[in-house]
């Protein structure tokens, strides 16, 4: 227990100190936190509940747009703003900017949670590969639909209000928004997985028909879990909107083949269905991505493809799964004769 507390204290301290110790890596670390958030939330349904969604990026994109619409719409008509397609036409005060952020980010989370709550019962009728493809279709369709809505800037996308901060400070602010969200998410999941709710989604993963036969409210648990994960992804999306200054629908917001796939790779790398797996996977993947994207120019997608093939063929259970296999005692798997009465 105390060893754990110490570990967490060190990690939090490192998280706070990092952008000041390594200022040139602030953007890199911010993206790392984004990866951790999307990996952890993907694992809520994919790893812990057995529903492999390929469409969680839908909540990321929707979070971006919701955050933008709130931040702009609080003070200006959104249609005119996007029509001007240059945010310079309107001037935004510092207090307007921060208010937009403070309301926009949680607002985006809530809206995405609500979306998941509404579409959940529809999609959870699908099982296995059908769920994966169905959710992917949702993300692709959403991108196409949004890029045809002129009010949201169409295919051009949206320019965000300008930050009143110097870019270097803005970077640090964005880093702390991601890191704060990530820390809250991790703490939440640590608790969530220890409740009966957490056990119920594990039961759904292991044998949903059995869970139904035992009277578990399967649809209720599935929908709420997806909605909670959507809240966090949506908030991360809104933070990204502020970070990117300008974003467009297909390549940035509903980027199914980039972030939409990366989050799955992170989880597979670290180990599905564990608390630490997605975090460790996100770190490994982000480093891998930076290295290949910077040093094997043009070959990065090949390297990524190879990585996926290697994981899927040789390390299906990821790093944590491998450890569980070779060191079961670390995970409390043991024959225990103590206290038996028969």
């Amino acid at each position: 227990m105390t060893k754990n507390t110490l570990l967490y204290a060190v990690l939090v301290a490192a998280t706070v100190a990092a952008p000041f110790l390594f200022p040139s890596y602030t953007a890199f670390l911010a993206t790392l936190w984004l990866f951790i958030i999307v990996a952890l939330t993907w694992d809520m349904t994919g790893g812990q509940m057995g529903y492999n969604s390929l469409g969680n990026i839908f909540f990321y994109g929707t979070g971006m747009y919701t955050g933008a619409v709130i931040a702009i719409g609080l003070y200006f008509p959104v249609g005119e703003w996007t029509d001007a397609s240059r945010s310079e036409v309107f001037s935004v005060t510092a207090s307007q900017y921060y208010t937009g952020m403070i309301i926009g980010i949680p607002g985006a989370g809530l809206f995405c949670g609500l979306c998941a709550f509404i579409i959940g019962p529809l999609f959870f009728g699908l099982r296995g590969p059908y769920f994966a493809i169905g959710t992917l279709g949702l993300a692709i369709a959403a991108g196409e639909i949004v890029s045809n809505i002129e009010w949201l800037g169409g295919g051009q996308g949206i320019s965000m209000p300008h930050s009143p901060l110097h870019p270097d400070f803005e970077k640090v602010l964005i880093y702390f928004l991601y890191a704060g969200l990530g820390v809250v998410l991790f703490g939440f999941l640590r608790w969530f997985y220890s409740t009966r709710f957490g056990a119920a989604i594990n039961a759904i993963r292991d044998d949903e028909e059995k869970a139904e036969a035992m009277g578990i409210h399967t649809l209720r648990y599935k929908t709420i879990t997806w909605a909670i994960s959507a809240v966090f992804v949506g908030m991360a999306g809104a933070i990204s909107a502020f970070q990117l200054i300008h974003f467009e629908p297909l390549e940035t917001a509903y980027q199914t083949i980039n972030l939409g796939i990366f989050m799955v790779v992170c989880v597979l790398l670290g180990g599905k269905g564990t608390l630490w797996g997605p975090v460790i996977g996100a770190v490994l993947f982000h480093v891998f991505k930076e290295v290949t994207w910077n040093y094997i120019l043009g070959g990065q997608w090949v390297a990524l493809g190879l990585l996926i093939v290697i994981i899927v063929v040789f390390f299906q259970d990821g790093l944590m799964g491998y450890l569980k296999h070779v060191r079961p005692g670390w995970f409390g798997i043991k024959v225990d004769t103590k206290g038996a009465t028969s």
Partner: protein, 247 residues
């Protein structure tokens, strides 16, 4: 005694296969009722119809007087009418204790209870019941690593954890070591008397079912062939013929 399950005129067919034809039967409250019949005679199909696993083609099924033939599987389970599976189903990636804890009666849990952790009483009860079926030492092992027979015992313990009013058991002794069967019979009886759970059991092992049941129903070719006390069934020429294939 009164009928806690009342099946009347239930039919179910799969394409051309008439798995159940016009079945009527009752399960008496507090007792042990048996269901026998050759392979493919429609026993599991009848269980599936009762617990809402598939819609029936016709007829009515009542549980404690309430019509349940149109209800969904989890709803029926939450009424306290539970089943175990012939193929045995447990949560493979969870350990035995976790399997037990998730089997707490969900009809008694509100959504807010779900956001709590299990209490120490829950844990004690889980360990007590694992001890009851003889799996205490294996309680921290992943359920998928247990043998088939052990999984069968775990599934039985999980069902007890759920505190059902009626428990439908599909071949509880299949795959259990013959030397352990007497112990299992004893536990089933105690589930009936000590935990006052009404049992409805499908069983191929004649010695087991003749020993335990107060009333036995026999299916053949999807039809109710005979019913009565164990000694009557044992001597019934139609039942003997059905089992010997002279039907």
């Amino acid at each position: 005694m009164s009928a806690i399950i009342d099946v009347s005129g239930v039919s179910k067919s799969f394409g051309g296969v008439k798995a159940n034809t016009d079945i009527s039967m009752t399960v008496e409250e507090g007792g042990i009722t048996g269901l026998i019949g050759p392979n493919g005679s429609g026993k599991t199909t009848l269980f599936n119809s009762i617990v809402g696993y598939h819609p029936v083609d016709g007829g009515s099924i009542r549980f404690e007087g309430q019509e349940i033939s149109k209800m969904l599987v989890p709803e029926i389970a939450r009424l306290g009418l539970l089943r175990t599976f012939q193929q045995t189903r447990i949560y493979g990636e969870m350990n035995c204790v976790e399997n037990m804890l998730i089997s707490l009666p969900h009809r008694k849990l509100s959504i807010w209870d779900a956001f709590r952790r299990n209490t120490s009483e829950d844990r004690e009860r889980a360990e007590h019941l694992l001890d009851f079926v003889g799996l205490f030492e294996k309680r921290w092992l992943q359920a998928s690593s247990l043998s088939f027979g052990q999984q069968k015992l775990l599934e039985f313990a999980m069902a007890l954890m759920n505190e059902p009013t009626v428990l439908l058991l599909d071949e509880p002794t299949a795959g259990i070591n013959p030397t352990l069967i007497n112990g299992l019979i004893d536990r089933l009886r105690r589930a009936n008397t000590e935990f006052s759970i009404t049992l409805f059991i499908i069983e191929h092992n004649m010695r087991v079912i003749m020993n335990m049941a107060d009333t036995i129903y026999c299916l053949a070719h999807g039809q109710m062939l005979a019913s009565g006390k164990p000694e009557e069934i044992q001597d019934d020429q139609r039942v003997i013929d059905a089992y010997l294939g002279a039907h």
